[in-house]
């Protein structure tokens, strides 16, 4: 650990820094369980990227506090090049995201004195968490909040979002998605709406695929779809069916709401129901 919190008013919530691979200090927050600690498991939040990370951070904070109040220790962290951690976003790759998630899982277990981890993964964090948990044997459960199913789809959606952003802000849209991909390869980076994309990260996630990553997973799973539509998306429906066919205990939650994924002017979103559903799912596992 390279730093310590001080002047904490609420000692149950402990901000800290811990080292990941390559000696990069990462920011983390440990939420000590109140009341009746269920020390066997620790909930580990695995965040998304860029604007998504900003939009959902408050939701993670509130959910971690609610979990701790319910007796579950929880740990949140920022990967390198994100939030309050060290590092440049330009140096982030899918592999570093997974390394940081693994380092966070060690830190979380150590601080909670827990033997098992429940991953709570948001958006792109689902790809990272499922890649990380394949390298561990201590995963007790997996909650997916509006998961991204394929890395390449996610980044192409961000490129389309840039086009909307340009039109909405009276910029002249200058590049198609294909041209943005070319520019990314040529120049190494691409400005998007409220975030950058770097070629190293893009190329390293081209093959990231949630269904493939979860092929061997049979543990308790919660999938929360957070979309404006009532019906399940094709990807979520297929994942739910595959998990059920494989015999995994699955809880499916549809939250019909549109978070501000695409609004950099008001990048904050919380959902009390998502927090309650996640706690209910964890209670059901206990």
């Amino acid at each position: 650990m390279t730093g310590n919190a001080h002047l904490a008013l609420d000692l149950s919530e402990q901000p800290l820094w811990f080292d990941s691979h390559g000696d990069v200090p990462l920011y983390g927050v440990f939420h000590r369980a109140h009341n009746r600690p269920r020390a066997r498991t620790v909930a580990l939040f695995c965040h998304s990227l860029g604007l998504d990370h900003l939009v959902t951070w408050r939701m993670e904070v509130l959910a971690a506090r609610a979990l701790a109040a319910r007796g579950y220790p929880a740990f949140s962290y920022h990967a390198r090049g994100h939030g309050d951690s060290a590092g440049s976003f330009a140096d982030v790759t899918f592999q570093t995201l997974v390394e940081d998630a693994l380092a966070a899982s060690e830190q979380a277990r150590r601080m909670a004195g827990a033997s098992e981890i429940v991953w709570i993964a948001t958006r792109f964090g689902a790809l990272v968490a499922t890649a990380a948990l394949r390298r561990r044997t201590d995963t007790a459960g997996l909650a997916l909040w509006e998961p991204v199913h394929r890395g390449v789809d996610h980044f192409h959606a961000l490129m389309r979002r840039r086009l909307f952003f340009e039109v909405a802000n009276r910029y002249r849209p200058s590049l198609t998605v294909d041209e943005m991909v070319s520019q990314l390869a040529r120049e190494g980076e691409l400005p998007l709406a409220a975030e950058w994309l770097h070629d190293r990260l893009y190329r390293s996630t081209l093959t990231a695929d949630l269904a493939r990553s979860m092929e061997d997973w049979r543990g308790p799973t919660m999938l929360a779809q957070v979309q404006k539509r009532q019906a399940w998306s094709n990807d979520n429906a297929a994942l739910l069916a595959a998990l059920r066919d494989a015999g995994a205990p699955v809880t499916a939650v549809a939250i019909v709401e549109q978070p501000t994924w695409e609004n950099p002017a008001e990048p904050w979103w919380t959902s009390p129901r998502l927090g309650e559903e996640t706690i209910g799912w964890l209670d059901g596992m206990a």
Partner: protein, 318 residues
């Protein structure tokens, strides 16, 4: 090009500390970046109120570590209801900003960590939260940076008959409206109302016209230096222009010299334009870095406000 962390900034990241401070809506969360031990101490605490400590584009993080590497103490503060701070998230904007959080942070940092002189910097409404703190803590603030912040409470209150008539005669502006007609019905209604009423003019001194937190008079009374950045095509700049005479004309030459207004070509406020937001913060870093007593020949004695009074004229717009 997106900013890259330097080795000096990485070193500052290693020393960062989390702070909890009591605020009017519950505990406030902040990150303190201590100054580099080898750098000459600036004796200044740069406080950045934010609505999530790394918004926009992690630039407050970059700014804190960059300035700390040059000898400044830096604190990036989650305003209440955001990030890890307690409370409900208010809808910040022209009607409400979290100025009381900034005041609470200044008092805590002074009482518990001994910081006495502050520089406040913020983007958009977060700048107004900083400006709001001048009413209660102006004596403690020696400099202020406003990056693309609103000025008026109701945008159209800057539209009077003259403004609308000038706009109609401005062919470039008309051409832009026709080319990008987003929101034209609202603008047409605003223009109609402005033409229908008697000119609001710049003599209406009702402070309610100004955006919440726009404590310009308190800023002037404090004797602090200030940098306001606008984009020539920003609505915020049009607002500023409509009241610029009212705000600046009564100032003494000494006070006027302390207020710099930079007008950038195009726009300075486009939420989500990462290149623009980075440029704003890079300018803020440069401006604040120049306040360092070891570097700033003009302000060698920042403690001595009378020394500041003899400063030369404000810099020219970029």
């Amino acid at each position: 090009m997106e900013w890259r962390e330097t080795s000096a900034e990485l070193e500052r990241a290693r020393d960062e500390q989390a702070l909890w401070m009591p605020g009017p809506h519950g505990a406030l969360s902040a990150i303190l970046t201590p100054p580099a031990p080898a750098a000459p101490a600036a004796g200044l605490c740069v406080l950045m109120p934010t609505r999530t400590r790394w918004r926009p584009g992690r630039m407050p993080v970059k700014a804190a570590r960059s300035l700390a590497a040059r000898g400044f103490i830096c604190v990036r503060l989650d305003c209440h209801g955001h990030g890890q701070s307690a409370g409900e998230a208010p809808i910040s904007g022209r009607d409400y900003v979290s100025g009381e959080d900034v005041v609470a942070a200044i008092r805590h940092l002074r009482e518990h960590l001994g910081f006495r002189r502050f520089v406040i910097a913020g983007y958009c409404s977060d700048a107004l939260a900083g400006l709001a703190a001048f009413a209660a803590e102006g004596d403690a603030i020696i400099a202020f940076v406003s990056l693309a912040a609103p000025v008026l409470r109701v945008p159209e209150s800057g539209w009077d008959q003259k403004y609308v008539l000038d706009a109609i005669r401005d062919r470039d502006k008309l051409r832009r409206y026709l080319k990008f007609p987003r929101g034209w019905t609202g603008k047409l209604a605003s223009a109609g109302r402005a033409l229908a009423r008697s000119a609001l003019g710049t003599t209406n001194r009702c402070p309610a016209r100004f955006a919440a937190g726009f404590e310009f008079q308190a800023l002037v009374r404090s004797g602090a230096r200030a940098l306001f950045i606008f984009g020539r095509e920003d609505l915020y700049y049009w607002e500023f222009q409509s009241v610029a005479h009212e705000l600046l004309a009564p100032l003494s030459p000494r006070s006027r010299r302390l207020i710099e207004v930079e007008v950038w070509p195009g726009r300075a406020h486009v939420a989500g334009d990462v290149r623009l937001e980075q440029a704003l913060y890079e300018r803020a870093i440069k401006w604040i870095a120049a306040l360092h007593p070891a570097l700033d020949d003009r302000f060698t004695a920042i403690e001595d406000r009378s020394a500041a009074a003899s400063a030369p004229a404000a810099s020219e717009p970029r």
